[in-house]
Symmetry: C2
Subunit: 466 residues, 2 copies
Amino acid sequence: MPMSPVHLLGAGPVGCLAAILLKQRGFEPIIHERRPDSRREGAYGGRSINLALSNRGFLALAAAGLEAEIQSVGLPMPGRLVHDRQGHVQFQAYGKEGQAIYSVSRAGLNYKLMDLAESQGVPIHFESRCTDVLLAQNQLLLEHQGKIRHESYHVLLGTDGAYSALRNAMQKTDRFDYSQSYLPHGYKELHIPPSSAGEFAMDPDGLHIWPRGQYMMIALPNPDRSFTCTLFQPFEADPERGVDQGLENLRSDEEILRFFERDFQDAVPLMPTLLDDFRKNTTSSLVTVRCSPWNYGPSCILGDAAHAIVPFYGQGLNCGLEDVRILMELVDQAGLHPKSNQEAWANVLETFATTRKPDGDAIAQLALDNFIEMRDKVADPRFVFQKKLEARMQEQFSGQWTPLYTQVTFEPLTPYHQAYRNGQMQQALMDRIIDRIHESLPGEEHDNVDLIDPIIQQELHASGQT
Amino acid sequence: MPMSPVHLLGAGPVGCLAAILLKQRGFEPIIHERRPDSRREGAYGGRSINLALSNRGFLALAAAGLEAEIQSVGLPMPGRLVHDRQGHVQFQAYGKEGQAIYSVSRAGLNYKLMDLAESQGVPIHFESRCTDVLLAQNQLLLEHQGKIRHESYHVLLGTDGAYSALRNAMQKTDRFDYSQSYLPHGYKELHIPPSSAGEFAMDPDGLHIWPRGQYMMIALPNPDRSFTCTLFQPFEADPERGVDQGLENLRSDEEILRFFERDFQDAVPLMPTLLDDFRKNTTSSLVTVRCSPWNYGPSCILGDAAHAIVPFYGQGLNCGLEDVRILMELVDQAGLHPKSNQEAWANVLETFATTRKPDGDAIAQLALDNFIEMRDKVADPRFVFQKKLEARMQEQFSGQWTPLYTQVTFEPLTPYHQAYRNGQMQQALMDRIIDRIHESLPGEEHDNVDLIDPIIQQELHASGQT
């Protein structure tokens, strides 16, 4: 029996990692990418779009031997640096000493994965756009230089992102549940260059947030000592909810400057190209895509194609890379090999799709919830107190309390849906602990561990956590 | 200035009614229908698919002068005829004396509307399929006999149903919220012919329901004295929820008969072609489509294209026809005329889309809720008691209590979203009244109006309804 290639749509990080790990196992992956080869166009040298990579992403990359290399070029962010309107900055650790998420260039990561895939013999066909998939016939239609050809597939993996062509085809099949849901917010990328001395213009050891209730700005450090800033702001003004400026209203130089000087005062002097960037950079929207089932016979979507989420937990790509890790575990468990038939593949893909779907749903919801946390709660004294308590509980009652953020970000073996459930229970418990502390202790004793530890211990015990 | 035609996609009842009412106002509507002219194919003479038409539909049809004619060929159904497993039948009135919903042939209604549209000079182009809409250019692509032509539109109304081509184009625009969500149930149409004496085989004065918890069968009378039955059943078995047979498991004659004889015993002798029908008729799925916004410049979707709902409130077409009535009110209010420009149209369509959307959402949810009522609650003693109380309350405390079903079905001037909100409040009140009656009165006094009226009156008063 001849070997049957595994076709992949999309040469993004998820598609490349899947191809590399399949190749390692002796399969014949082929990638079709609709865009030209971006490595040739020097986009890498340009202004970077960065993302936060954390333990789930690193664990998946480890299988390709890339963990250490990517971590070494990333910038560790051990916590949030929260800016108030007066420019005061407060540090909130993400986890324990030594734990951090990493600011990584999206393009740089992608190029490394493309290079590695090609060096291992995976063909990447650029400008090869999938225009449709004939699911019942196991055929894909590929357009290259204006010509469309039909290609039969043995196995097809849709790693083609939020606007997936494979998912589009699936959406036309009966009983395919699908939703695309937009936030009322858009985002715009802005820029803080290195200082005139060539240094970082702000502290590079963290993720900067300017939380402003219904909206916020964030900034992540880049290796070239610049920061990429992102403003998340409703498209339309909504005065009842404290949004007097929508992205659509900010038109004149005066309006833009007045808005930034009021809300992001300490950042404005660091942004010499603010007005230019604000005008030149497009405003993008924020979509959550949920669908089911992810599989159809020997085809399956993964990554953003299956679960495009908003960026507020920094988990979008981590989740996509984890999809690949989990799929490979199932491939190995089922003993799939290069000559396995379509039915064997279909079974594995079905298992992947059904077992992984609850994790996709959970991280989608967590990402939406975290927007509220980032733009609003991080500035709330009760939230700040909760973070302190969580750190204390993790230290003093280790094993009985792992904060939700830690489970999601630093514990890749806890499935997202499990973390989500734990988080729901923990928040109820935490609310009881904080209420009791507030009711029974005067403000000056809220840091007194001799007084708060017994309360924590009683509530942990009552909730069955001990 | 020349007149600018209004293009409509789809010659279903909603598209035809909209065209007729636009023509009345001097506009130049043109309908494009992807199917051949079904009137020529004698589908009308075949087995009918019927639907329940009620006051919202009739009010909208009245504007085309068709109310009396359609009502005269429909069969009034003043209530539900609920069959238990032993074949006992219980009548539950839908409303007051004289109120009824009507079983109407879908094809017959559609043909009348097509005939009327054409007789008033509205061209209907059959086999003219919209393959895409270029929204930004106000162009539609129409395929006729294998050739595709571009047609510019001044105004475009998408009355092209649950799989709307216009909505498909809208779905690709930024920030278009969309969901398609399927029930785990499918449905299959079955048939009860007239008796050998040429009479109705069952009581024709009602909508027959065989409620069986997670599933049900219904039957609507036809003018030819047959009944069209519909079985609503989960695709897959789900023993934990009392579904030991999924539609997919019913394969052999034995399995099908055993299932029907256990659950629909009294119907089986009336269904001589049961096995044949069960095999021959396709199994269809049940989708709810929600989306927003419904408009884009001078184009707008209405009817199922904007809000495909499940059929359990009998409101799908009523809601679509009501869309047309409401749109025409807005056209008149804005003083639109045949030479109005696209901006004037865009404003009216925007108003329609934003004000009508909450009604589409409300009836979608009501239809889903009513499935549970029909398949499960109608057999519940508490529900039956509530229906009795509601009748009493409507009679005795008229003006203070209008049952939800009555608001939705018989009061077309109450918007769906208002009915939905009222229904939520009323159910809470009704639960309190029933609880008090159960707690304070022995069972034999539950019909004693001298004892229950004071309880009702107190609770109505306490809730601010008096």
